[in-house]
Symmetry: C2
Subunit: 297 residues, 2 copies
């Protein structure tokens, strides 16, 4: 029953996300090419998570806080070589100013994902999508584009990031597609990344956008004290959508996710805002819900 296992290589890959200046950003290892922090699972790693943290710290100096497993890919690299299994993780961290060069905005990677100013980007993409949809197997393709990209008045679902990427990949519009001759310029479809790292980032984006709605994970991206305005800005950055301010406040407050610190700040301009902190106890107290998105259209 158990023939000997063929050995494989195990790789740990991190999508470390922080939010700064209205854009979520992904940590890359500084190199000529865009690539995620990664490294092999080693004998001395106590667990995969521990190994992942170690690699990220070694390669970028960042100590991750929140970490969760994303997905595991198996790639047959070059013919003949061992197979590599990549276990990817999503990590969240609070960003302060500085060292922006290692941090790539995920809207630079996926320009169409920011619906806060869909204008140019989506307009530039939509015709190509329609062309692809018409080319072959039209019925299915049209429906698929409509649903994933929210065309023709259908709702845009932020959490479908991976599915959108996959459409573009199949359509040959992104540079890493197998048939990349029709690939569009990076301002529209974003830059190339090593291996399948862009797919992994898209996976992370989808997961985070979904999770933010039913688990209080935004707070892992926030400083210890923050205003509700800043919290909202962070959620909007992640979701790539605007939310209704007053309703957002209502939800956050009535769920008792935060408590006032007593302080205020006027850094935000306008009327000074009260400062809040995350009530971390809530993680035990309840199967606490997340931050629904009261949409604004």
């Amino acid at each position: 029953m158990n023939q000997p296992h063929e050995p494989v290589r195990a790789e740990l890959v991190a999508v470390a996300v922080g939010v700064l200046d209205g854009a979520p950003r992904v940590l890359t290892t500084s190199a000529s090419q865009l690539q995620l922090p990664a490294g092999p699972l080693r004998e001395d790693h106590r667990s995969m998570q521990a190994g992942l943290r170690a690699w990220v710290e070694e390669k970028t100096g960042l100590r991750l806080g929140y970490v969760e497993q994303l997905y595991t890919f198996a790639d047959r690299d070059r013919a003949g070589s061992e197979r590599t299994i990549s276990v990817s993780y999503l990590g969240l961290t609070w960003m302060e100013r500085g060292d922006l060069d290692q941090w790539v905005s995920w809207y630079d990677l996926f320009p169409w994902e920011d619906q806060r100013d869909d204008g140019v980007l989506r307009r530039a993409l939509e015709p190509h999508l329609r062309a692809w949809a018409q080319a072959e197997d039209a019925e299915r393709r049209v429906v698929r584009c409509r649903v994933t990209f929210g065309l023709d008045g259908i709702d845009w679902h932020p959490e479908l990031a991976l599915q959108r990427y996959e459409v573009l990949y199949e359509a040959g519009l992104v540079p890493e597609s197998p048939d990349w001759r029709k690939a569009l310029p990076p301002q529209i479809v974003g830059p190339w990344m090593v291996h399948d790292h862009r797919r992994i980032v898209a996976t992370a984006m989808g997961r985070l956008r979904a999770k933010i709605q039913y688990r209080p994970v935004v707070f892992e991206l926030m400083p210890p004290e923050f205003t509700l305005g800043q919290l909202q800005a962070c959620v909007e950055a992640i979701a790539g959508q605007h939310v209704h301010k007053q309703n957002f406040r209502r939800i956050v407050e009535q769920q008792h996710l935060v408590e006032e610190t007593g302080g205020t700040t006027s850094e935000t301009g306008g009327r000074p805002a009260r400062l809040f902190r995350f009530r971390r106890e809530i993680l035990d107290e309840r199967a606490a819900g997340g931050t629904k998105l009261p949409r604004t259209r």
Copy 2:
């Protein structure tokens, strides 16, 4: 930067689930010990999913339909040996009568998870949980038990199956705990399974229970034609909870998840019920929602 990878062993593990007679069941490989179908990733497998399907078919004869990745574990087996990476998958299938011996009810594995008759089982467990909570670090432990097991009037959340298992594991109440001296009899805490297979099943249960609420996956467990009553029974089996019949029907119908076949059946006893089939198109048409659980208390 790239020291040579230390080789590891990659194992594929399947949690194949079907529903029969009001209980979800998990496929095991017939042996003296309870264990899940599993096998190493092989060179000739085109992908991990393909490999998984192949193993399940080889070991049990079952052809899986729907498959999704669950979680990846890394275990250091025995000291000195290579590390094993287990990539686990959830598979759903439609069960007909027969061959029940290979299929273990997940309420035999986790008796406390069936809240449709929580009576005896939970009563038998609760005192031990409270004892554990009091023993040490009481404040945290009490809250944790309350939340995960829904004690003291807090809502029971079906999808917290894994968290509940982990509490029992830490409390030493299940036979596979490192300190198993306090373990309770199998009628209360279920039987032992090979390796960490029971943890994997608990993961699958949590995932499926969560997913059923926001994606139409129940239908993967149903025959081509079914009555709404049967569909409801299937959902209740998965969730381990009763749902409100009329509201359940309302949700399913208004989401256009199903269409009438025109036929009826009186197999269910009582007034004959109309037959429906799943509108599979909906999987493309919308980011279709699942089957929320209109609770009944």
